[in-house]
Symmetry: C2
Subunit: 212 residues, 2 copies
């Protein structure tokens, strides 16, 4: 008997050119569930006026968090690795394949996103040619060197590591600054998966419900 | 029959006030092995002139990476989670405890270090009152709220999540900017563990061998 997974996200976020709609990290969990055929529902916490109940479940006041029976997990990366253990679609079951998925998922979080998100944040004030630009371009170049000779990051096939990395890379401001055709082709290849489209459409429809 | 783990790091890094000696991330793996009593040896790649052999094992040209029999893993966070499955000292074996360790380890990598390291990097140019300061202070405040009511991050006891978080937080420049006594006490508590001291001394001795 499998209980339905619950993905928690905001009830609404701004859309338009600069709003995060379409990029809120619940999409990573939706996408993983769609790939794996794991049944899930989506519930909301208020975007405005985050309260102590929210902080009790997500100490940094962010979304998403995941309910899996009596287990609740925060951090999208942790939720992805948790979900990966539920389906071979997301991660192979051999020790070597698991290790590759683990290292590339963490690389997405701690080598790429650790540079791309702060670069993006500083670019809101100082434009794209900011203090973090060279570091960001160096990381993109290293990843590009991998993806010119590999179609996927881990285990020779699509895994949750690609899902995470593509979501990190598909930020419009970052794509506009990316000089590497192989990286752009990778983003397009991963985001062309039907499960991404379903996850994306699901997030857009969810936040549209909160428009008044 | 257990093969000895191999932790790969540089043969030398600069020391002194501004060098990374004592903070190279191989210390996280040494520390985890020391906590768990896992036998390991340390091998080196050249710090100067990193070559394609290095990039083949660490696509971002960094250290550490870990050899565990025929499995090689890069990303210190991935190595820690891999090691955590080898010893209950690092992570409890119940599903709820594992989930807590996973979410807090990822929080260390993707909510804290994703802000503290870029803040530190920008501070080298612009000083501590830079573009990323408010974001960094907000993250410290959220973590402080957790650590004023919890001695440890996950599962009610020391785990690999504390090891990682304390290593993220113990950077001198960051400690100097941290206004929270509970956070400082946490860093001191975690780093007072004998296994940290052995790992730290091991790294310092290793890099001293490369001094000429």
């Amino acid at each position: 008997m499998t209980e339905k997974l619950v993905i928690w996200t905001y009830d609404w976020v701004p859309g338009g050119k600069s709003g995060p709609r379409g990029h809120v990290r619940d999409i990573r969990l939706r996408w993983a569930c769609e790939e794996a055929g794991l049944p899930y529902e989506v519930k909301s916490v208020p975007f405005e006026g985050r309260d102590s109940a929210h902080f009790a479940r997500q100490p940094f006041g962010q979304v998403p968090f995941l309910e899996d029976g009596d287990i609740t997990l925060f951090e999208s990366g942790a939720c992805l690795l948790h979900l990966a253990h539920k389906s071979e679609v997301l991660m192979p079951r051999d020790a070597k394949g698991e290790a590759e998925v683990l290292e590339w998922t963490i690389a997405g979080l701690n080598s790429m996103e650790m540079v791309t998100v702060p670069w993006w944040f500083v670019s809101l004030f100082d434009g794209p040619d900011n203090r973090l630009k060279d570091w960001m371009l160096q990381r993109l170049a290293h990843l590009d060197a991998v993806l010119t000779s590999h179609e996927w990051l881990a285990a020779g096939r699509f895994t949750v590591a690609d899902l995470l990395m593509a979501d990190v890379l598909r930020v419009p401001r970052l794509r506009a600054a990316n000089p590497h055709p192989a990286l752009e082709a990778y983003i397009e290849r991963v985001c062309a998966r039907p499960a991404f489209k379903r996850a994306y459409d699901g997030q857009m429809a969810h936040f549209a419900l909160g428009d008044s």
